[in-house]
């Protein structure tokens, strides 16, 4: 029994101050197997992986790897033992070259000095084996797209020739083609006899590539299931611990005849450098416009231009009927625009400040008299939105950094809701949020639109767009590849447009 298991973790417990992150979890991976580790955010997946790789120390339990009991105390040790890991957040050195990132810490040497020629040629061949070509491996990592960076992280993990490859959300920034390349690599790794632990929120990928799934919920083991015995629905139900039918199938009532309403946003010919080209956008009050597009399609740049964070080289923007000259976010905010960034951690939260302060950061002027703040007014606003949005917190004074991703996102939404915006721009509002909170945030967005606010929502998850949006604009390589309204919206049509890219005159085809 033990023989065919490469990794066997038994009775793993790990507690952080006040929280039991893992309770008596068993987890085993067989040789040559791709094993999915599933669970909602906060279920303990990442903690389990970090215990395995030595970043956290377990409180109790045993880890047997390749028939030896191990207790790694840092990432270097577990790497030596043959466990290589791709973490959820990109963990590479941004200013070093792609090749270097793949080899750092174990550079090939000649006469005791680093042999740069060998490093670069080997990096090129490793990436080539993965099907990634045309990368200048000697340029710094941060000059490449996120997808290439992700591929570099994967290449690094692969080049370690590990017995066990751990991948925590490896596809979150990859296109489908690139994900396909990754799956080929995984199959080859498997054929070599190594095992893979695969963590992903994208259900279809898990079903495509994995043999077995272990499901965690609230730090406890739910069970281990062969993939063949599972359906998507069953898996989601196991993950959230209740029937998932209502969560997954909630289709927006089709068309509300909103196109006749007055336009809140009218943008013409938005261009910036070579990132966005001649994009036209119209959103009426109460309308939810979805923006679909791959990474690098210009979707985030579009959002930033509309919020004044980036200045467009050409084009005109009209907000609520008046011409808008946006040079800083303050200009946009003054006109009633709100914006939630795709990167909550880097551009959204103030981690050391309280929930209340995070929520009211944008309306301090209105809650004060002569520059003196009214704590009472602040409290009132905070309490109102905590109740209204069902934010799970011990109180308005709790530190923002202690909240879960979903609750942080709700606080950030509340930050704009309390400003009563006319146009709300949401860049990936549901990224990294568990299913329960996702549907709550969808409700908040629908409610916002119901009050007549124009919403622009960007998402890389097509299901999210289809569920929420009245109209979808598809971007490709910085251009508008097409637009779908109401009944036309379907996954096939979006994929078709994404694949086709932009062709002049295509918009005419899809005009209603």
């Amino acid at each position: 029994m033990v023989e065919d298991c490469l990794l066997k973790m038994t009775g793993i417990c790990k507690a952080f101050p006040g929280v039991k992150a893992l309770q008596d979890v068993d987890f085993s991976v067989k040789y040559g197997q791709t094993h999915a580790l599933m669970g909602e955010n906060g279920a303990g997946k990442s903690t389990l992986i970090k215990v395995l790789t030595g970043i956290y120390q377990k409180d109790a339990g045993e880890i047997v790897f390749d028939a030896e009991s191990i207790a790694p105390t840092d990432a270097a040790q577990s790497q030596h033992m043959g466990i290589s890991t791709i973490y959820q957040e990109l963990n590479l050195a941004p200013c070093l070259s792609v090749a270097e990132n793949i080899f750092i810490g174990r550079e090939p040497k000649k006469y005791g000095l680093i042999d740069w020629k060998t490093i670069e040629s080997r990096a090129r061949s490793i990436l080539g084996d993965m099907g990634v070509t045309g990368v200048n491996v000697s340029r710094p990592l941060n000059e490449h797209s996120v997808a290439i960076q992700q591929m570099a992280a994967i290449a690094r993990a692969l080049s370690l020739d590990a017995k066990l490859l751990v991948m925590d959300e490896p596809t979150s920034s990859l296109s489908e083609t690139e994900a396909g390349l990754l799956f080929d690599v995984i199959r080859r790794v498997k054929a070599r006899g190594s095992s893979v632990i695969f963590i992903s929120h994208k259900m279809s990928e898990v079903f495509e590539i994995c043999d077995t799934a272990t499901i965690l919920r609230d730090g406890c083991l739910v069970g281990e299931y062969p993939m063949a015995d599972l359906t998507k629905l069953k898996m989601v139900s196991l993950m959230i611990g209740r029937d998932a039918t209502s969560v997954l199938h909630r289709k927006k009532e089709v068309s509300r005849g909103l196109d006749d309403r007055e336009l809140v946003l009218k943008a013409r010919g938005l261009s910036r450098a070579h990132r966005t080209k001649e994009i036209d956008i119209d959103i009426a009050g109460g309308q939810i416009l979805g923006v679909a597009g791959l990474l690098g399609s210009g979707r985030t740049e579009l959002a930033r231009i509309l919020f004044g964070d980036e200045i467009c080289d050409g084009g005109e923007i009209e907000i609520a009927g008046a011409a808008a000259h946006l040079r800083t976010p303050r200009d946009a905010i003054r006109l009633g625009v709100g914006f939630c960034s795709e990167d909550r951690k880097a551009e959204g939260v103030f981690p050391h400040m309280s929930v209340m302060e995070n929520m009211t950061a944008g309306i301090l002027g209105e809650l004060s008299a002569g520059g003196v703040l009214s704590r009472k007014a602040q409290m009132q606003v905070a309490q109102t939105y905590i109740d209204k949005l069902g934010i799970k917190t011990s109180g308005p004074d709790q530190r923002m950094g202690e909240l879960s991703g979903g609750n942080q996102q709700k606080v950030l939404l509340a930050r704009w809701l309390c400003k009563k915006p006319v146009l709300m721009i949401l860049d990936e509002p549901m990224r990294g949020i568990d299913l329960g909170a996702k549907s709550e945030i969808e409700d908040i967005i629908a409610d916002l639109a119901g009050k007549g606010v124009a919403v622009l929502m960007i998402s890389s998850e097509m299901e999210e767009l289809i569920r929420s949006c009245d109209k979808i604009v598809v971007l490709s390589e910085g251009r508008k590849a097409g637009q779908l309204t109401a009944r036309e919206i379907s996954e096939e049509r979006i994929v078709q447009m994404l694949a086709h890219g932009s062709h002049p005159g295509q918009e005419a085809v899809h005009a209603k």
Binding site: D74, A76, L90, R106
Partner: protein
Amino acid sequence: MKTDSATIKTGVIDTVKSQGPLVMLVVLCVIAGICFPAFATSLNLVNISRQISMFGLLALGMAFVILSGGIDLSVGSIAVVASIVALQAGRWFAPAAVVAPILVGVAIGAFNGALITWGGIPPFIATLAMMLGVKGLAFVLAGEGRSAAAAEQVVNVSGWFPVIFRGDCFGIPYPAIILIAALGVAVVVSKYTSFGRSVFAVGGSEEAARMMGLNVNKCKMLVYMICGGCAGAAGLLLASRLKAIDPTATGGWELTAIAAVVIGGIPLTGGLGKIGHVIYGVLILGIIPNLINHLRISLPPWYNEMITGMLLLAVVLLQSLIAKRGTR
């Protein structure tokens, strides 16, 4: 066609951006050469090279620290303690005058590193405290005298000792040779050793470096030890120049060293830049007071500080403008 010219243009901007410090240095030298005929004389250049050698060494060590995302404010104090140790040790056993200061520097650097890695104290404040503490130690070691002013004392040294600073080889002063050698070693270490590369990774993101399996603590320890060692070597040169104990000799050196590193193109956030370019920063900061010396016809002495500050400002502003132009 259009892409070609665009590539050339970005290429030029890239070069100017990456060679900004060199451009600044050349501009400064050309201006100096035109305005002051005495500037380009070999005597003057030899003088400059002697003057910059000490804080050049400090800047090299500092460059490693700053690349790793840290800072070391204690280098001036380390240098002065090292100079005292050199003179005191030389009384007992002559060769110790050369080895001891460097060892002392490395040891204090190791203590800095320990405070920062195991002690978990932010580098700025840890080395600030050490700057005070080590300077206090310098007075203790100097022994005589209650106050700073009275502490300076001349020490009898062996005849060869002052030659380290004064001597030259084919007209190139020894201190300049030491600095150039140190620069060469630093460039090779930063570009061609695993340690050198790990400094960049740690400076880029400590968390990421740790997760990539690098030994972050070891890297940081080494960086502060190197910095301490360089400061020790600078102290040796100082001792050789002064031939006297003066615990106040290095006030403000740490800031000059930091400025040289930043002007050399390494941002204080770390992880980015080239060690070799630090020499441009060192030269720029070394030439400025020299220029002022040429300028000084009837100006009172305190104009030195003001003009140094303004030139420094001009350099920094120009760099920021070049960087902005480049990103546009």
